[in-house]
């Protein structure tokens, strides 16, 4: 069974997720602070870490940074109530392989954890929307030709379906491709998101922050 560590500063929430995931995945530990989380992850070496975006002391981003130094292979799934696109994108760019909102059901969460553990990326509808917004066609500068800076038509189509609430296997059926191909497209988008030097990503995040 996939082993999981939950990092969240709300004890009630940790207990809730533990209960929901009971029997579906193996929750081997949890932590409430950045310090505890880093120690716990490095000691227990779980398959997947469920990571809260907002925590005192630097948040999920700090956990990601510190663990990346000690255990670079660690896989993270961001789990948050946060609506702020810049926070979510920042976590993905720092290495998290997916983002789901806390309202997700236990079964879906377990499924997402297993996919992350297999090395796939997990995009919730909201994250797909954020990414489409960040890579919006209209915002692309003319001189951009690096393939990292743009989404392919197929990738956009897959993201749009995720944003519309379709599951991977439904998308595969609609686009006449295999589920593995859908996952490959999502992983490609994740890679672009993490590696893109595209300044729109930061500018866009700044714009969002400015109007806060």
């Amino acid at each position: 069974m996939t082993s999981v560590v939950i990092v969240d500063d709300h004890s009630l929430f940790r207990a809730g997720v533990r209960a929901e995931l009971d029997g579906l995945v193996d929750v081997i530990g949890d932590a409430a602070t950045v310090e505890d989380a880093v120690a716990c992850i490095v000691a227990l070496e779980p398959d997947v870490v469920l990571l809260d975006v907002h925590m005192p002391g630097g948040g999920g981003l700090e956990v990601l940074r510190q663990v990346a130094e000690k255990r670079p292979v660690q896989r993270f799934l961001a789990l948050s109530v946060s609506d702020a696109p810049e926070d979510v994108i920042a976590l993905i760019r720092a290495g998290a392989r997916g983002y789901v909102t806390k309202t997700i059901s236990g079964e879906e969460l377990a499924d997402a954890v297993r996919r992350i553990s297999d090395g796939d990326a997990v995009f919730s509808p909201r994250l797909a929307g954020f990414v489409l917004d960040a890579f919006a066609a209209g915002a692309a500068p003319v001189e951009v030709d690096d393939e990292l800076e743009q989404l392919t038509t197929r990738e956009r189509e897959v993201l749009r379906h995720i944003a519309r609430g379709y599951l991977y296997k439904e998308i595969a059926a609609r686009l006449n491709i295999s589920t593995k191909t859908v996952e490959a497209h999502v992983s490609a988008v994740l890679r672009k998101l993490q590696l893109s030097s595209r300044h729109e990503l930061s500018r866009w995040a700044v714009q969002r922050r400015l109007v806060d």
């Binding site: 109530v81 609506d83 702020a84 309202t103 509808p125 909201r126 797909a128 929307g129 489409l132 917004d133 919006a136 066609a137 209209g138 749009r160 944003a163 519309r164 609430g165 379709y166 439904e170 969002r208 109007v211 806060d212």
Partner: protein, 392 residues
């Protein structure tokens, strides 16, 4: 320009500089007031008789609209530099007039320093008239205000120095001023630490006050919203659907309050769709996940697509079951697309009688009337998706 007042002429103090006589005549004749003013100044330069005529016109011709004293109006005009320059010119012309009429022999040694000082005085006065409300709003003096006041003070001091210099009174004045400055400096050095501490203390106090005000605001908001909802949740604990709906409504509200991403009052397509989704969710107790990509101001076609989307959401919420409905909006330069998808049982589209009014009129018909289209995709067992598109 004539002072013989035709019946219809009214002074226009709101658009005039002094009494609004020129502006009034210009309005009567229908030309730019600037032309009349140039003519008036030419008449002044030729003989000066225009000035008494202007005064008579000011007194005799009734004003159109509200009138405040000309002096006060001059002082509260927006273009501060213009007012200051005007005040300098007025002083110069007044003093020269006195000299021309032999009322008071003003020599040049007094005249020009007086003009410079009057200009600077007008600058300072103007700032003192407008500054208070801005200070109250921003908590500190705007840079422009400080610059103007400094320039005004420099002009006044300069005028006074020139006056002293040309009247050979600078040397005795220096003898008086120097000890005063030295004493002031000494006092300033002694008092500086206390003064700095006082200023810092005031700043700290202000910060603390602002913080406590913010805290009070947050507390008030949480009290009105979150605590109320929590109380309702406790009361309705036996009705899970109602509790879930309450929680979701509160979540939406709190998010909107926290993000506060849109300039207040401006309604966009995205915000209108989110509002519609919240409403349907409240009425039908089915969670709706809203994802928006891009946004646009809400125009007539936007209103149509929101209304159609709302209808689609209502339809979906009747069949969706407990699974959330997805509302996806994408706004690009070319088109607006809205997808409403439920995970209900779905149906074979061809089996539905074509006279089903709900879908035909309120969704398909509405979209077609606004140059768009609506398509319903459904497969039994896989839910239903309504696609709304308007091309730009």
């Amino acid at each position: 320009m004539s002072s013989a007042a035709p019946v219809a002429v009214r002074r226009d103090p709101q658009h005039g500089y002094l009494g609004g006589v020129c502006a009034g005549f210009a309005a009567r004749v229908g030309i730019d007031p600037l032309l009349i003013r140039i003519g008036f100044i030419a008449a002044v330069a030729l003989g000066g008789v225009a000035i008494p005529l202007y005064a008579i016109a000011w007194v005799l011709i009734p004003a159109e609209g509200p009138e405040r004293p000309a002096f006060q109006r001059l002082l509260t005009r927006q273009d501060t530099w213009l007012v200051a320059a005007g005040m300098g010119c007025l002083t110069a012309s007044g003093l020269l007039l006195l000299r021309a009429w032999d009322v008071w022999i003003v020599n040049d040694r007094f005249l020009w320093p007086a003009v410079i000082a009057a200009t600077g005085g007008a600058l300072i006065w103007r700032q003192s008239q407008t500054a208070p409300e801005r200070v109250a709003q921003r908590g500190r003096l705007p840079r422009q205000t400080v610059n103007r006041a400094t320039a005004g003070a420099a002009l006044v001091v300069g005028g006074a120095l020139i006056f002293l210099y040309v009247n050979d009174a600078l040397a005795p004045a220096r003898d008086v001023v120097l000890p005063v400055i030295v004493i002031l400096l000494a006092v300033a050095i002694i008092l500086a630490p206390w003064w700095i501490r006082l200023v810092r203390g005031l700043a700290d106090e202000r910060d603390a006050r602002i913080r406590s005000q913010e805290r009070a605001e947050v507390a008030a908001h949480l009290h009105d919203s979150v605590l109320q909802t929590l109380a309702l949740v406790q009361k309705r604990a036996d009705d899970p659907r109602e509790v879930a709906a309450l929680a979701r409504r509160q979540e939406r509200e709190l998010r909107a309050w926290l993000n506060n991403t849109r300039p207040s009052g401006e309604e966009t397509l995205g915000s209108a769709l989110e509002a519609a989704a919240a409403e349907v969710e409240g009425d039908h107790h089915v969670p709706i996940e809203v994802v928006t990509v891009g946004d646009a101001p809400l125009d007539e076609r936007g209103v149509a697509i929101v209304a159609a989307a709302r209808e689609a959401l209502v339809n979906a919420s009747k069949f969706a079951g407990p699974e959330p409905i997805s509302l996806y909006v994408e706004v690009t330069d070319e088109r607006i697309e809205v997808f409403v998808r439920d995970r209900g049982p779905g149906f074979a589209v061809d089996d539905v009688p074509s006279d089903r009014r709900g879908v035909r009129d309120s969704i398909v018909g509405r979209m077609e009337r606004h140059g768009g289209r609506a398509t319903v995709h459904s497969t039994p067992g896989y839910g239903t998706e309504v696609e709304l598109v308007i091309e730009s």
